[in-house]
Structure formats: structure tokens, C-alpha cells
């Protein structure tokens, strides 16, 4: 078997190889289970990173929406618009909040998981992280809640140009996600050792951010 083309697999996924290089890699992959496994893992990383890659357009979206609102004072008077806006509402902060959420959630999950391991292998005791003051749910909440509140505020601003039924539908669906989040949190509090629930919580919260991003995108391009 030829040498493993491990270093070229990332470029292979990105379509950056020449035709000859691509053929060479594909021929190797046909017979090498190890490289197929590495390639599958790489694809997983690419998919998981997709939400992070999407953040810059999200920033642009919100900037554009703000600009539109400013352009139409008859819809929302500027003074009213400014009054409605919270001092903390800027899109870079929104994007940062989303990224921070992911980083904090992942970190907290890692910390929660590795904490148990440290407690058994001589590392710092688990009690070094007071569970009542630094649970993943609490760590993730501050920036996340700000992001959610900002979206809901934006939805309110758009309410006079959107069908009330659409606004109600979006809000109802966000509530559906909230209920799912509450259910996971409840399960986590009842059974904190069930480590998969940390991933579920992170995923559900990310889902809510994704829905807000997608909805904003559709509304922006359609109105």
C-alpha cells in the first residue's frame, strides 16, 4: 500500500488538489480503511465548523437590517428606534456572543467531563469547580440570553411589516426550542452524570441561534 496521504486529505475535502493528486488520493482511499476513517472525521469537523463559518454573514445581515430601519423613519421613527435599542445591541457583539456561547459551552462540557476524571486520577478535586456557581448552563447563559433578547427585539421592530401570523409562528417555534432546552436542563439537574445531556444542551441552544439566523436571513431577503 502506498504512503498514507493524511496531510492531503483536508485539501482533498476542500477541492484544492490537482486532478492527478485527487486521483492518487482516491485510489489510496479505495483500499485504506484508516484513511477513510480519518476522512470521515475530517468531514465531521467541517460540518461542525460550518455554523462558525456562518457568523460573518450574520453580522452583515443585522447591520443591513439596522440600516433599513434607519432608512424608513416613517415605519420606525429614528428617535423611537434609538429608544428601543438597548445600549448593548451591536452586531459584532451578537456574533461574538454566538461564538462565545459555543466556546463556553464546549469548555464547560469539557470541564465537567474532565473534572470527574481529574477527581479519580490525582488531579485537582472536582470540588474545585463549585457546581452551584459554574455549571455549564449558567456559564452559557449570559451571552446567549443577550443574543436571544436582541433577536426578539428585532422581531418586534419588524412586526409592522410582517404578517402577525408569521411573527407568532416564529415566536411559537422559538418557544418550542425553549421548552426542549428546559427539558434538557431539568434532566441534567436530575442526572448530572449523564454526560451526553451537556452536548444536547449545547446543541439545542445552537439550534435556536441557527433558527434566528436563518429566519433573519429569509426575512431580510424577502422583504
Amino acid at each position: 500500500m502506498s504512503e498514507h496521504p493524511t496531510e492531503r486529505l483536508s485539501a482533498y475535502i476542500d477541492g484544492e488538489l490537482t486532478a492527478d493528486e485527487r486521483t492518487s488520493v482516491e485510489q489510496h482511499l479505495e483500499t485504506c480503511a484508516d484513511c477513510q476513517g480519518v476522512l470521515a472525521d475530517l468531514r465531521g469537523i467541517v460540518v461542525r465548523a460550518r455554523s462558525l463559518e456562518d457568523r460573518p454573514p450574520e453580522s452583515d445581515l443585522w447591520t443591513g437590517i439596522e440600516a433599513r430601519l434607519d432608512e424608513r423613519p416613517e415605519v420606525v421613527p429614528l428617535e423611537t428606534h434609538r429608544a428601543r435599542r438597548r445600549p448593548s445591541f451591536t452586531m459584532p457583539q451578537m456574533a461574538a456572543a454566538a461564538v462565545a456561547l459555543i466556546v463556553l459551552s464546549v469548555s464547560a462540557t469539557w470541564w465537567a467531563r474532565s473534572g470527574a476524571e481529574r477527581g479519580t486520577d490525582g488531579g485537582p478535586p472536582v470540588a474545585a469547580v463549585p457546581p452551584d456557581t459554574a455549571t455549564p448552563t449558567q456559564l452559557a447563559s449570559l451571552d446567549y440570553d443577550t443574543a436571544v433578547a436582541d433577536f426578539e427585539e428585532l422581531l418586534t421592530m419588524y412586526s409592522d411589516r410582517l404578517d402577525p401570523q408569521t411573527v407568532a409562528t416564529v415566536e411559537a417555534n422559538l418557544m418550542v426550542i425553549d421548552e426542549a432546552i428546559d427539558e434538557i436542563v431539568e434532566a441534567l439537574e436530575a442526572d448530572p452524570e449523564r454526560s451526553q445531556l451537556y452536548d444536547s444542551l449545547t446543541s439545542a441552544r445552537q439550534r435556536k441561534l441557527d433558527v434566528m439566523r436563518q429566519t433573519t436571513s429569509i426575512i431580510r431577503t424577502s422583504i
Partner: protein
């Protein structure tokens, strides 16, 4: 006196403000060069697009809106401007070059695209989006409506919020999500799948590639995965309040309370992650 009454009556009819704007009928043919891009923006009304082998775009519209055209080299844009007080719904029917790229947006209306081999970006706020075809990059979505996509190839993104997402005979990297509805993927050939719902089932049927990564996730719904006979995959499955079901014997390689259960097929190459909070995970064996 009789004639005077008639004359006054006619004058009143002629001078009275129109109570309804006549339904405008637009039928325009615009020639375009190679690699055309067609953009359609509508507020209320359906958009139907089909293809032909001509280097031209035919635009037909019926409804009260003013229809504006803009053409620059190979780019054609069509926009409906609503006229206040004269009805709302204007429907578009377009025939475009088969390989044209498409950007279609409407607020209240259905979108239907048939047979294109170009890139597609089609979104409605509250209407069904149905697309057959599309290559390279296909993005379809609706907030209140369902999404049906078939025959697309490339990087696929299909999103709804309050309805179903259904993909059939699609090839490529797939991201398919909704909140309140099922996500079904039938005969989908992908090496990268991300499918999720919150209130709805996830159903996947298609080849499992050894170098593939497949993620299916819902909160309130069943996950149904059909495994081909020759699949080589490691499945990580988690359900909090549901069960595992399989219509064939499976060997659990890892199963610890509170953790993910792992199944392995063949040499376990592909990675498959299944997660549902309140639903069951159902594994089926296909005959292929």
C-alpha cells in the same frame, strides 16, 4: 331631459375613481448571454420557473403589481412593486435557460422550480418551496412553508421553521433542518449530512459511504435510519426517553448508562451520530 340624465350618468362613470386596478398581464422575452443569472423578487404571489434550451428569459406575470425589469449582460432581475390599494397577489411564470443561476424570493407565495442545472437560492417567508434540480450550491428555505427538494447535486441547504423538509434523490453535502416538522431524506447520496428537527422525525435512506459523516438530531421525534447491507459504519446513538429498535440483529460495542450507545457495522469506517431526547431510534436494513 332623458339625454341629459344619460350624459351625466356616463360622465360620472367615466370620472369616478377606479375601484379596482385592471389585472396587468405581462409577457416579455429578454435575451441573455451565457452563464445567465435570474433574480425574481415578489411580495405576494406564486413564482413558477421552468427551463428551456434558448438563451432567453420569458417573464409572464398576472396581477396588480407594477413589474420592473432590469437586464445587465447576463443578469436579469424582475421585481414586483405593489401598488397601494390595488390588490396584492401577482403571480409570475418564468422560462429560463436550463443552466441559469436563480435567486427567487417572495413573502407570501409558493415557489416552484423545475429542471434547472444552475445554482439555486429560493426562499419564501410563508409558502411552500418546491425545487427539482439545481447544481453546485442549492439553498432553499421557508419560515412557514414546507420545503421539497429533489434531483439536486452539490452543496445543499434546505431549511424550514414551521414545516417539513423533504429531500429526494439528492447528491452532495446536505444540511437539512426545521423546528416543527419532519426531515425526510430518501435516496440521498451524501458524505456529509446534518439533519435536525425539534418537533419531528428524522428519516434517512441512502448509501453510507466509508468516508462519510452523518448527524441526525431531534428532540421530540423518532430517528429512522436505513442501513445498506454493505455499510461500514460506527453508529453513536443516544436517546433519553426513547428506545432502540432494529429489524435485524445488531451488536452493541459500547453501552454505559448515561452515555452514548455504539453500534458497529462492517469495519466501522463511516461516522453516524443519532440523538433524540424523547423519541426512539429505529435501525432498518435495506436490501441493497
Amino acid at each position: 331631459m332623458r339625454y341629459l340624465t344619460i350624459a351625466i350618468g356616463c360622465a360620472l362613470i367615466i370620472l369616478s375613481p377606479a375601484t379596482a386596478r385592471p389585472q396587468a398581464a405581462v409577457d416579455t422575452l429578454l435575451s441573455v448571454g451565457a452563464n445567465a443569472t435570474v433574480e425574481v423578487d415578489n411580495m405576494v404571489g406564486d413564482i413558477t420557473i421552468s427551463t428551456w434550451d434558448r438563451s432567453a428569459v420569458r417573464v409572464q406575470a398576472t396581477g396588480p403589481a407594477d413589474v420592473h425589469f432590469d437586464r445587465e449582460e447576463s443578469e436579469v432581475s424582475v421585481e414586483a412593486e405593489m401598488v397601494p390599494g390595488h390588490g396584492r397577489e401577482t403571480d409570475f411564470t418564468l422560462t429560463i435557460p436550463k443552466d441559469a443561476d436563480i435567486h427567487v424570493h417572495t413573502v407570501e407565495g409558493r415557489i416552484s422550480i423545475e429542471g434547472t442545472t444552475g445554482r439555486i437560492d429560493a426562499h419564501s417567508v410563508k409558502g411552500l418551496v418546491r425545487v427539482n434540480g439545481g447544481r453546485n450550491a442549492v439553498e432553499v428555505g421557508s419560515v412557514e412553508g414546507g420545503v421539497e427538494l429533489s434531483g439536486a447535486r452539490g452543496r445543499i441547504e434546505a431549511h424550514s421553521v414551521n414545516e417539513f423538509v423533504a429531500l429526494t434523490d439528492v447528491i452532495g453535502d446536505i444540511e437539512a433542518t426545521t423546528v416543527n416538522g419532519p426531515v425526510t431524506l430518501e435516496r440521498c447520496d451524501t458524505r456529509s449530512l446534518e439533519a435536525s428537527s425539534v418537533n419531528g422525525a428524522i428519516v434517512f435512506q441512502g448509501p453510507i459511504h466509508s468516508d462519510g459523516w452523518y448527524s441526525m438530531e431531534t428532540h421530540n421525534g423518532t430517528i429512522e435510519l436505513t442501513i445498506p447491507q454493505d455499510a461500514s459504519a460506527t453508529i453513536s446513538a443516544f436517546t433519553y426517553n426513547g428506545d432502540f429498535e432494529a429489524d435485524f440483529p445488531v451488536t452493541v460495542t459500547e453501552a454505559e448508562p448515561g452515555k452514548t450507545t455504539t453500534f458497529r457495522f462492517g469495519s466501522g469506517d463511516a461516522r453516524i451520530e443519532l440523538e433524540t431526547f424523547n423519541g426512539s431510534i429505529v435501525l432498518k436494513r435495506s436490501n441493497q
